[in-house]
């Protein structure tokens, strides 16, 4: 897609091309830098959100291992360990997911603005 010959029919990309976009299309060093910056921002965002959830999961077996009282803790007769894992996980997932979607769209939009 990036190897269009000179004189070949122009695609949509060329119509809206600006300098930034051209750099990007032709994979110049500057275009590479743009791309690396974008990937770094998106990657860091994804990794950060993922680590929050994975940490939430991985800490629970440790908690049960080092503190046997964890399994015995109750609220309204229901073990807290069941509520944290079996109920609270889902709102947490949805919350993390919505934060991510909003931030990822912002990053994409900023990048698009920068280039065009």
């Amino acid at each position: 897609m990036s190897q269009q010959l000179p004189g070949a029919p122009e695609g949509e990309a060329e119509n809206s091309a600006s300098t930034g976009l051209l750099e990007f299309e032709e994979q110049t060093e500057v275009g590479e830098l743009y791309l690396k910056a974008l990937m770094r921002r998106q990657g860091r965002l994804s990794l950060g959100v993922a680590l929050v959830f994975i940490g939430f999961l991985l800490v629970q077996p440790m908690l049960a291992w080092w503190w046997p009282g964890w399994g015995a803790l109750r609220i309204f007769g229901i073990p807290v360990s069941w509520l944290v894992l079996g109920v609270a996980s889902y709102p947490l997932l949805i919350w993390l997911g919505s934060i991510y979607v909003r931030r990822a769209e912002e990053v994409d939009d900023e990048f698009t603005d920068l280039l065009s």
Partner: protein, 631 residues
């Protein structure tokens, strides 16, 4: 095993609706694009419901509740990680993969690395994982029809195979999108409403947590158990039993593990018999009319009907290790605790399920039906909402099952607890309606997942094996025909294999499919998308080693259930047994290590990797896009 007309009606209604909707949608499915990606005309909400509908398989609808009933707390990792896997998919895969325009994992493998050979490797793994995942769905089909109607196991599989194959072959992706979104609604309704009503009926949320520590589950109804020679029971406390004929059994006192009641709780899902009985040390006992079953492990020596009256301790069959309610509630109970290495087991289980979701072959296809990466991410977020609202419920039904129908432990029917529990509401209309609803939900569960798998397997066979290797010159009509024939063939093969897995636990096979996916496709996708230096050699070796070793260790575990020398060897090396049964904790890092190590040692990244990174990560508005399957 209640024969309930209402349940049969529920099944038939769901089958007719699924088939009818699929065939109705057929009028839209004309082009290959319609068949494969539903022409991208599916709105995100419908698409999200269809993805959830496809993802919530029999393992989610029936299996989780059954496993919670068997093993308690440790099983909660399953639903949470099934849903959590979707978060990872949203974070790392959904957007870039949609932009890349890869329709399947093999498409990605070839597109990213320009290697048709690597594509073949990926196709083989898609077929392995797809079939592993199809088998438990077939088992669920047989079990559901059997529980509802009393028809033999094989008949259920046959009926479901016909309905599902007809839907896929007739309507393709566009047809099943419509059906699957409908099926999600049915499943959510069928799991939440009965759970909610049963909670009210049994008055109070503290159940069975209200039991005193060390309490035994007692039968809620007088139950007749059919026993056969060689059948193993664990008796958690001295139990009065009545027998029809003079009957004998061998008895072994429980060993040191008596307090937790879990001698050697086996592998994920616990299919392996958990009590090893040395017949020479059995104390032979005889029952005439009535008598006492002493606490410990017993082996029946004759065929008989054993009646145990209400209020006596519930016996445990060979599939569930006997456990006190306290150990069932606590972390590291009979499932993880029984392995001897609870932390290792738990972490490996979390890894397999969390990471395996991304590598399941039928999941990614769906994201390609989105028009762009933004819609793809939003769809994934909606899926998280839908999955979360579903997964809260199955553990509730499992926990209620422990208190209100513990006879299922003795009959080894815990997998059917979702289907059977509503009849506890009595023979009135409410119990009847709920039985019909859960039967319809179960049908929706296995048929929607099977549909998705058949589209993937049909795609891999028709699109890849036929359209690329055998006849690359085939036109669109021939390709569509090939897709339909492949889906038909895959459906028949899965049904035939499904007949063989009756004795395996639903969630065991599913867990294995996840472990293989986590050790092969997960590292491939994550590194392939986010690390530009990944080389073709590194990726191929990683996928082959990770997927291959995971498959081999799982097959070893399967063989151990029928080979006693191997089982004895594994019993002596319990950490090895844990790793073989749940290999993800070793094979996932191994696959990552291979990919990174080989790529760094022999740095020959595929040509044009920058262009591919642009395609994966550049926002669509820049207009740098190319479709794999044109509209």
């Amino acid at each position: 095993m209640t024969s309930s007309t209402a349940a049969v009606l529920g099944l038939v209604a769901m089958a007719v609706v699924s088939l009818g909707a699929g065939l109705f949608a057929r009028r839209w499915a004309r082009t290959t694009s319609d068949f494969m990606v539903a022409a991208r005309a599916v709105p995100p909400r419908v698409n999200a419901a269809a993805i959830s509908g496809e993802y919530l398989s029999a393992a989610s609808f029936l299996g989780i509740a059954g496993l919670v009933m068997q093993f308690g707390y440790d099983v909660l990792w399953y639903p949470v990680c099934y849903a959590g896997g979707y978060l990872l998919l949203l974070l790392f895969i959904a957007g870039p993969l949609r932009r890349f325009g890869a329709y399947t994992i093999p498409d990605f493998a070839e597109g990213r690395f320009d290697s048709p050979r690597f594509r073949r490797l990926a196709v083989i793994l898609v077929l392995i994982i797809g079939f592993f995942y199809a088998l438990p769905q077939m088992k669920a089909a047989g079990l559901t029809v059997q529980t509802a109607s009393g028809l033999p196991y094989g008949v259920g599989i046959g009926i479901v195979a016909v309905v599902v194959v007809a839907g896929v072959v007739g309507g393709g992706m566009r047809g099943i999108t419509f059906v699957q979104s409908l099926q999600f609604a049915v499943k959510l309704f069928a799991i939440s409403v009965p759970a909610f009503l049963l909670l009210i009926h049994f008055s109070g949320t503290g159940v069975p947590f209200a039991r005193g520590a060390g309490g035994l589950e007692r039968l809620t109804t007088t139950t007749r158990f059919q026993v056969t020679p060689g059948e193993l029971w664990q008796i958690p406390g001295n139990t009065e039993a009545h027998v029809a004929h003079p009957t004998s059994f061998g008895w072994q006192k429980q060993k040191t593990a008596a307090s937790t009641g879990a001698p050697s709780a086996g592998f994920e899902g616990g299919t392996s018999p958990t009590v090893t009985v040395n017949h020479s040390h059995d104390h032979l006992r005889r029952l005439e009319g009535a008598g006492q079953l002493p606490r410990g492990a017993i082996t029946w020596r004759s065929t008989d009907t054993v009646t145990i009256v209400r209020g006596q301790p519930a016996p445990f069959g060979s599939e569930t290790p006997a456990s006190t309610t306290a150990s069932w509630i606590a972390p590291f109970g009979p499932l993880a605790g029984g392995t001897g290495h609870p932390l290792l087991f738990t972490y490996s289980l979390i890894l397999a399920i969390l990471l395996g979701t991304i590598g399941l072959p039928h999941i990614l296809v769906r994201f390609y039906t989105n028009p762009d990466a933004k819609a793809s991410r939003r769809t994934a977020l909606l899926v998280l909402v839908l999955l979360g609202s579903f997964y809260i419920w199955p553990p509730v039904l499992g926990a209620l099952g422990r208190s209100y129908d513990p006879s299922l432990y003795g009959t080894n029917l815990t997998d059917a607890v979702v289907l059977i529990l509503p009849s506890q509401l009595g023979a009135g209309w409410l119990g009847q309606i709920l039985s019909a609803v859960v039967a319809a939900g179960a049908f929706a569960a296995f048929s929607s997942t099977l549909s998705g798998l058949l589209v993937s397997l049909g795609g891999a066979l028709g699109h890849d094996v036929y359209g690329r290797w055998l006849r690359p010159s085939a036109g669109p009509t021939a390709r569509r025909r090939a897709f339909q024939l492949s889906a038909l063939g895959a459906g028949l093969a899965a049904a035939a294999l499904g007949l063989l897995v009756e004795q395996f636990d639903i969630s065991v096979l599913v867990g294995w499919a996840f472990a293989i996916a986590a050790s092969s496709f997960f590292p491939l996708l994550v590194l392939g998308i986010w690390w530009r230096r990944l080389t073709t050699l590194g990726a191929s070796v990683g996928v082959a080693l990770g997927g291959g070793i995971a498959t081999c260790s799982i097959i070893t575990t399967m063989v151990a259930t029928v080979s006693s020398p191997l089982a004895a060897f594994l019993a002596q090396h319990s950490s090895l047994a844990v790793i073989l049964a749940q290999p993800a904790i070793v094979t996932v890092p191994l696959a990552f290590g291979c990919m990174v190590g080989i790529s760094l040692l022999r740095p020959t990244p595929p040509a044009g990797v920058s262009a591919k990174m642009v395609q994966l990560h550049a926002p669509e508005l820049l207009g740098l896009r190319r479709e794999y399957i044109p509209d």
